[in-house]
Amino acid sequence: MSDNQPNEDKLLESCLKGSPSHQAQLYYRYKGLVMGICLRYGGNIPDAEDMFQEAFARIFTNLKQVREESRLPGWIRKVTVSTAINYLQKQRKHQFQVVTDYSTSPPEVPEQFTVEDQIAQEQLMRWVQELPAGSRVVFNMYVIEGYSHKEIGQRLQISELNSRSQLSRARKLLKEKIALHSFNRSDYKSNG
């Protein structure tokens, strides 16, 4: 690490002392991580930007709560996820209900899922963003953040069963998208 890139200890200490340059440095260092989380939860850029602003405001306000500097990235991640969930709950944009659409038969999805092609990060992110809000939040919390269904249920105030259903639905939708994506690519290749 160069001199211009202070380690977490010095960065946190300087930020707490109110050094604007280090506060700016903290912002630039973690803005990508925070925005990544906000995009995953937000589903669209305006919501993600709102979450982003709230998250950073909370981060800067509560920075003194970080006891050990080495935990700063994890703490920032936790605060951002919490802010994103609070934001979505405030917006009431998502209902954590089990939605089962029986009107159309679901498309065929292979039981054994394999990823044959390298799929770009951006594409994966887009698919996650396209998930219904409730499923998206549960999928993010369970798969990416590693929460258990019990914890998700407590945090979102839904039942554990509901959480499992949302996750199952998210997985199914994502499999469909990947299957369609693979089919289009193979079709494109075979057609020359």
């Binding site: 109110g18 604007p20 506060q23 700016a24 990544g36 906000c38 995009l39 990416i144």
Partner: protein, 389 residues
């Protein structure tokens, strides 16, 4: 993780770095980082602008100089001291001030703050050639990017830009020291209250006590002094519980049909155990202030009991003491009151001292008398307190 789908997304998205627009970055930096800079820079700019206007002679030409936009630099700490001047070589940028009055009146009107703010945002200042003579004489030649500090010594005011910035930083440091709060704070309050009381007979008796002769309206006799000591617990939320003990000295007179209590003297000890103060000013960070004053506001709900002593109340002979009597031979009346009040506390930061002024309205909603006393009272009190931290 067993599920390959989960694994795919976790692997790719757990460390996904989102991108932000420059506009959003600017907004965030203004919101999160700038306040301290802006305060210090505004302080420096204010002094700088005042300095310039002090030194501008009437009718003398000046030229504009740009403050180097230190926001372009990585070291944002230097923003506050970024009053390095760079002369403009363009003749179109030369200005001539022919009248002094408009300039001064412009600065003295109510838009002074916004003018200064505009000046800050545009990052332009006007300085005299007297202040920077070598710039004036060197306009046609090669002009250095930064001026040497020497010309500043020629300013009429014996202050340099470095000192201005240093003073600004000192102010911020002082503010930081003062605003830093301990979780448990002791305080002392001194107050003056005016009581609007209403006396009434405790035992209604048309024969012995039928009418009270009492003071009405605003009267000096209704003033009381109060001293209060207590502790405030600073919580993480904006609700701060307080507990304190108050001693009030009150002196007034009341007379009634069957006797007179001369020199009604009330010495009262309040124990305000359930006071909650709500702080509704946004949290103030050190440096996020204007010059050297800070205002913080609290609304407090006063809910407490008081124990009242009336040691000098005279005993009046009654014909029917079973109705109206003062059992205590010393004439001491023991009364408990339940007090409800509301106050608004404003903090004014003066250098290293914090002065808190609190207007308060309170009333006794319930009175319990331990002794059979001839009359009770109902009071509204309006007062102003000064708190010493």
């Amino acid at each position: 993780m067993d599920n390959p789908l989960d694994e795919l997304f976790r692997k790719n998205l757990s460390s996904y770095q989102g991108t932000t627009t420059p506009e959003l970055d600017q907004i965030m930096l203004n919101k999160l980082v700038k306040p301290r800079n802006r305060t210090i820079r505004n302080t420096a700019c204010l002094l700088g602008v005042l300095l310039c206007f002090v030194t501008i002679p009437v009718g003398q030409s000046i030229f504009t100089n740009e403050v180097s936009p230190s926001s372009q630099n990585n070291d944002l700490d230097n923003q506050s001291v970024g009053l390095q001047t760079r002369p403009s070589t363009s003749p179109q940028e030369q200005l001539t001030l022919t009248e002094e009055v408009p300039v001064r009146s412009h600065l003295s009107n109510s838009k002074k703050a916004s003018v200064i703010s505009d000046v800050t945002s545009q990052s332009k200042f006007s300085v005299t050639d007297r202040a920077f003579p070598e710039l004036w004489s060197n306009r046609s030649g090669d002009i250095p990017d930064r001026l040497p500090p020497a010309p500043l010594a020629t300013l009429p005011l014996s202050i340099s830009l470095g000192e201005i910035s240093a003073n600004s930083i000192d102010v911020a440091e002082q503010e930081k020291q003062v605003i830093e709060r301990k979780p448990l704070e002791w305080y002392t309050k001194l107050g003056v209250l005016h009581s609007y009381h209403h006396f009434f007979p405790n035992d209604q008796d048309d024969v012995f006590i039928s009418q009270f002769d009492q003071i009405t309206g605003i009267d000096a006799a209704r003033l009381s002094a109060e001293i209060e000591g207590g502790v405030i617990l600073r919580t993480k939320s904006r609700f701060h519980p307080m507990a304190g003990v108050t001693y009030r000295y009150y002196h007034s007179s009341v007379s009634y049909t069957e006797g007179r209590v001369a020199g009604y003297e009330q010495k009262r000890i309040n124990t305000d155990l359930n006071r909650i103060v709500y702080e509704f000013t946004p949290s103030i960070e050190p440096g996020d202030t204007h010059l050297s004053t800070v205002h913080m506001h609290h609304v407090g709900l006063l809910l407490g009991t008081s124990y009242q002593l009336n040691p000098r109340r005279q005993i009046v002979p009654y014909l029917k003491p079973q109705y109206v009597q003062m059992r205590a031979a010393s004439g001491v009346g023991h009364t408990y009151q339940l007090t409800l009040g509301i106050g608004f506390q404003s903090h004014l930061l003066l250098g290293k001292r914090r002065l808190m002024v609190e207007p308060r309205v309170e009333t006794d909603v319930r009175e319990i008398q331990l002794d059979n006393q001839p009359y009770g009272s109902r009071q509204w009190r309006v007062g102003v307190f000064i708190q010493l931290p």
